[in-house]
């Protein structure tokens, strides 16, 4: 008998817990509160009981505040699935009951419940045009081969639309005479456009045929790491063939001071 009593007591407690839906609760972010319903950002609506209590989640005391969009709420249900109490917080509240347990109380039907209305455009289902990414952090290594005439003291950067095309957004490191490299950690699902520069948009890369090139595109998929290899064929500030006499660079006949930076008054050698 002594062994049976604790088991009976435990069974009674479990039965009481299951049979007391008023203790059932869930948390979420408020989307709206009006016309006898509270709406969460899941898109679900829950009907309010006649006398719903609104409490402060921190003090658990009644508050005059009404739920507003962006508030975080802990919602309590009665036996009929109506909301009897709402605790409000400005910060996210821990998930205490998995949402599926309160699905039976949802007023607005959650997707993808089967309503046979045909899709107007079967090729434009939202789950198709919004591919899912987990947002995991992916180490992306960019390696770029630069033209052989790139100065040894040059710096190479990546400019992206995410940086508003700041030409010095991502500094790369020289790997050898022809290559620069950088590794960045990006969330999967990141979709951006980028170009290589030598620090300004006057020194941005150009296409192999000398034309301005369209930005490269990159979509980060779910992976542990990703390597991106690119080739820059020429820079926008390349002289047309690299062999035209440049002022102040080398001793040429067009240079009024063939040695750059000679102090004033120093005679310069002329042919």
């Amino acid at each position: 008998m002594k062994r049976i009593l604790p088991l009976l007591a435990l069974s009674a407690l479990l039965l009481a817990a299951v049979a007391a839906p008023s203790g059932l609760q869930m948390t979420g972010q408020v989307l709206d509160f009006e016309r006898g319903y509270i709406f969460l950002t899941t898109g679900d609506a829950f009907k309010l009981a006649d006398r719903v209590r609104i409490l402060d989640a921190k003090t658990l005391k009644p508050t005059a505040k009404t739920p507003e969009p962006r508030d975080f709420a802990r919602i309590f249900f009665d036996d009929f699935g109506k909301v009897t109490a709402i605790e409000l917080s400005g910060a996210p509240l821990p998930i205490e009951v998995p949402p599926p347990m309160v699905e039976k109380f949802v007023v607005a039907l959650s997707t993808p419940y089967s309503l046979p209305t045909p899709t107007p455009n079967p090729h434009a289902r939202p789950d198709q045009f919004h591919p899912k990414y987990t947002g995991k952090i992916v180490a992306v290594t960019f390696t770029v081969q630069v033209p052989p005439n790139t100065p040894m003291n040059a710096q190479v950067f990546i400019t992206t639309d995410a940086s508003n095309w700041n030409p010095q957004a991502i500094l790369m490191h020289r790997v050898d005479a022809l290559h620069f490299r950088v590794t960045r950690k990006l969330a999967s699902g990141t979709d951006f456009r980028y170009l290589y520069t030598r620090g300004s948009l006057q020194t941005v890369e150009r296409a192999e045929n000398g034309m301005a090139r369209k930005p490269r595109t990159l979509l980060i998929s779910d992976a542990d790491a990703r390597a991106v290899g690119d080739i820059v064929y020429r820079w926008a500030d390349d002289s047309s063939n690299g062999i035209t006499a440049q002022p102040n660079a080398i001793p040429t006949q067009f240079n009024p001071a063939p040695f750059p930076n000679l102090p004033p008054g120093v005679p310069t050698p002329r042919p």
Partner: protein, 589 residues
């Protein structure tokens, strides 16, 4: 002559702007969103807009939404309005708890409140046809993550062109700890890099205020500082379209010596592009009549061929645009045609080559030599000098030197060789030859090193005559090392570079170099070339490199949107000069 060039530049500017606008009208872009609310906040970290209180959204395609709060991630093509929402379009009204607009697909996902709440989808803003039960994305009613609680700015109204720009109005911007009221603040986040092309020269500090703009134009004021002009204000106007862009600027606008710049780029098709840059210099008090003025223009026409491309480049300079006798009357002109081949693999060898060829002329009837002309040689003043040139480049890809070892122990080898020769109608030619070889190793994902040896030979070789013996004397000191110089210089550089990036917000580089040049550089004969805005020394080859130097460069993030780069060099065995004259310090966004 100058007026003609200015007129041509102005015509090209207007032509590009007109073509840009014409091309832009054909683009399919999302509707314009006019947003007003009690308080609009913008997070630079997350590129999100958060608006609260009496939210009204009016779109250019006739939709009006009222609600309590608004949320938009500017990188996504969607926004959310929640709380006592009313939609109006085409004379119909729909009440609901929230509406999420997916602009790219012209869909409105709504939680309506009729008898009972439900979920409806409207397509093309047609509120008369609710599609009930249509599948919605799982996060359709989620508020965008605003990131840190401190907004970058607050405003009362905003105009948003999704995926292109936002223009805030009645703005309060925290600046140096105090609220700074501004009438507008424009922010561009489009995928069009041409809209942010610039024509300003570098500055040590540049604080940009974009006070107006749309998807094809930005008007900006720049508060700048550099060591020559000190603090000053500049103005820049950007225009961009489908086939080209234009940038005009006045820099500095608040100093007597002003540079008026115009960059024009027009690419009517995939094979042809035209790019011009014109700079007008004026020395004037505010906008009074200039005391002196000069102009410089360059235009490049590029035409793409299947395996090569050709370019026609022209320069034109006028040093005296106003009647100031102290200014030079020179007006040199330069025109060059070149053809360049694509890199091409040599057989199956790990070797690539490309070639270039060209011809052109320089002309200046005034010139630097008393009687006019570009160059005096053999008793004759040359006012026009023709040239033709040929050059080629050979280079290897990265060749692996070690096999069957971990990546962190792998060595790579690179080499390149460039040679060019340019003949002139004055009997001489210029040879430029650059040879480079390097070995590199990546020690870890964040640390790598390379060893590079480069030799550059530059020769200005005359068949008859040439450079005469030259022994400079400065402050009573004779520099005999130049006595053997006859126009042929050699620059040899051995460089060891080590770099690390343990964190994206922190990068370091150490570069140690040994220079062996002929003629030997003499201390004090050549001034140090100042750093450019990137911290690089220009020109790339000069007769003034100390024999040994080591440079350290640090770049790290000092604020959410501000990087600081600090660089300095130390010289060994270079007289009494040990440190480079100044630190190179630069703030970048």
């Amino acid at each position: 002559m100058p007026r003609r060039f200015l007129a041509i530049a102005l015509f090209l500017l207007l032509f590009v702007a007109a073509r840009a606008s014409a091309g832009a009208t054909g683009m399919a872009i999302d509707p314009l969103i006019h947003l007003s609310a009690d308080r609009i906040s913008f997070s630079f970290d997350r590129y999100t807009i958060d608006a609260r209180g009496h939210v009204v959204v009016r779109t250019s395609n006739g939709l009006v939404i009222r609600g309590q709060t608004f949320s938009m991630d500017l990188k996504l093509d969607r926004y959310l309005v929640a709380g006592h929402v009313t939609l109006q379009a085409g004379g119909h009204t729909q009440h609901g708890a929230a509406v999420s607009a997916y602009l790219q697909f012209n869909r409105l996902y709504v939680v309506p409140i009729t008898g009972e709440p439900d979920r409806w989808t409207f397509i093309d803003n047609d509120l008369t046809k609710p599609y009930k039960g249509l599948i919605m994305p799982g996060d359709v009613f989620y508020f965008a993550n605003f990131g840190s609680k401190r907004p970058f700015l607050t405003a009362r109204a905003a105009v948003i062109r999704p995926l292109h720009y936002v223009r805030f109005e009645h703005v309060t911007l925290p600046f140096l700890g105090a609220p700074l009221p501004l009438p507008t603040y424009y922010l561009n986040f489009s995928a069009d890099p041409n809209l942010v092309q610039n024509s300003l020269s570098g500055a040590t500090y540049d604080l940009t205020y974009n006070f107006a703009g749309n998807e094809h134009a930005i008007s900006a004021l720049h508060l700048r500082y550099d060591s020559i002009n000190k603090g000053y204000v500049s103005f820049e106007q950007h225009l961009s379209g489908r086939n080209g862009y234009a940038v005009v600027s006045l820099n500095p606008a608040t100093r007597p010596q002003k540079y008026w710049n115009a960059v024009l780029d027009y690419q009517p098709n995939q094979r042809l592009s035209i790019r011009t840059f014109t700079q007008l210099f004026t020395d004037q008090t505010w906008l009074h009549s200039p005391r002196s003025a000069a102009q410089w223009s360059v235009a490049t026409l590029t035409y793409a061929l299947p395996k090569s491309f050709v370019q026609l480049t022209g320069f034109q300079t006028n040093y005296r645009l106003v009647n100031n006798p102290t200014e030079s009357q020179n007006h040199p002109t330069y025109l060059q045609f070149t053809a360049t081949t694509f890199p091409h693999q040599v057989g199956k060898l790990p070797l690539f080559e490309s070639m270039n060829w060209g011809f052109g002329f320089n002309h200046d009837s005034y010139g630097a030599y008393g009687n006019g002309g570009l160059q005096k040689f053999g008793g004759y003043n040359y006012t026009t000098i023709w040239n033709h040139a040929l050059g080629f480049t050979l280079y290897t890809p990265s060749l692996r030197l070690t096999h069957h070892v971990p990546a962190s122990k792998m060595y790579y080898f690179n080499a390149s060789f460039t040679h060019s020769r340019q003949y002139f109608s004055v009997p001489h030619f210029v040879d430029v030859q650059t040879t480079s070889a390097s070995i590199s190793r990546q020690f870890s994902t964040s640390v790598g090193a390379y060893l590079n040896y480069q030799v550059q030979n530059v020769g200005d070789i005359y068949k008859v005559g040439g450079y005469t013996p030259y022994t400079p004397v400065i402050n009573g000191v004779t520099y005999s090392s130049f006595a053997a110089f006859r126009g042929i210089a050699t620059f040899r550089t051995l460089a060891l570079g080590i770099n690390g990036s343990p964190d994206p917000a922190f990068n370091w580089t150490i570069l140690a170099r040994v220079h062996r040049d002929f003629p030997k550089p003499e201390i004090g004969l050549f001034a140090f070339t100042p750093y450019n805005v990137l911290g690089n020394i220009t020109p790339p080859a000069q007769l003034g490199e100390p024999p040994y130097d080591i440079t350290a460069d640090l770049r790290f993030r000092v604020a959410r949107h501000l990087n600081l780069e600090v660089q300095r060099s130390y010289f060994f065995h270079y007289g009494t000069i040990n440190w480079s004259p100044t630190f190179f310090v630069q703030f970048t966004p």
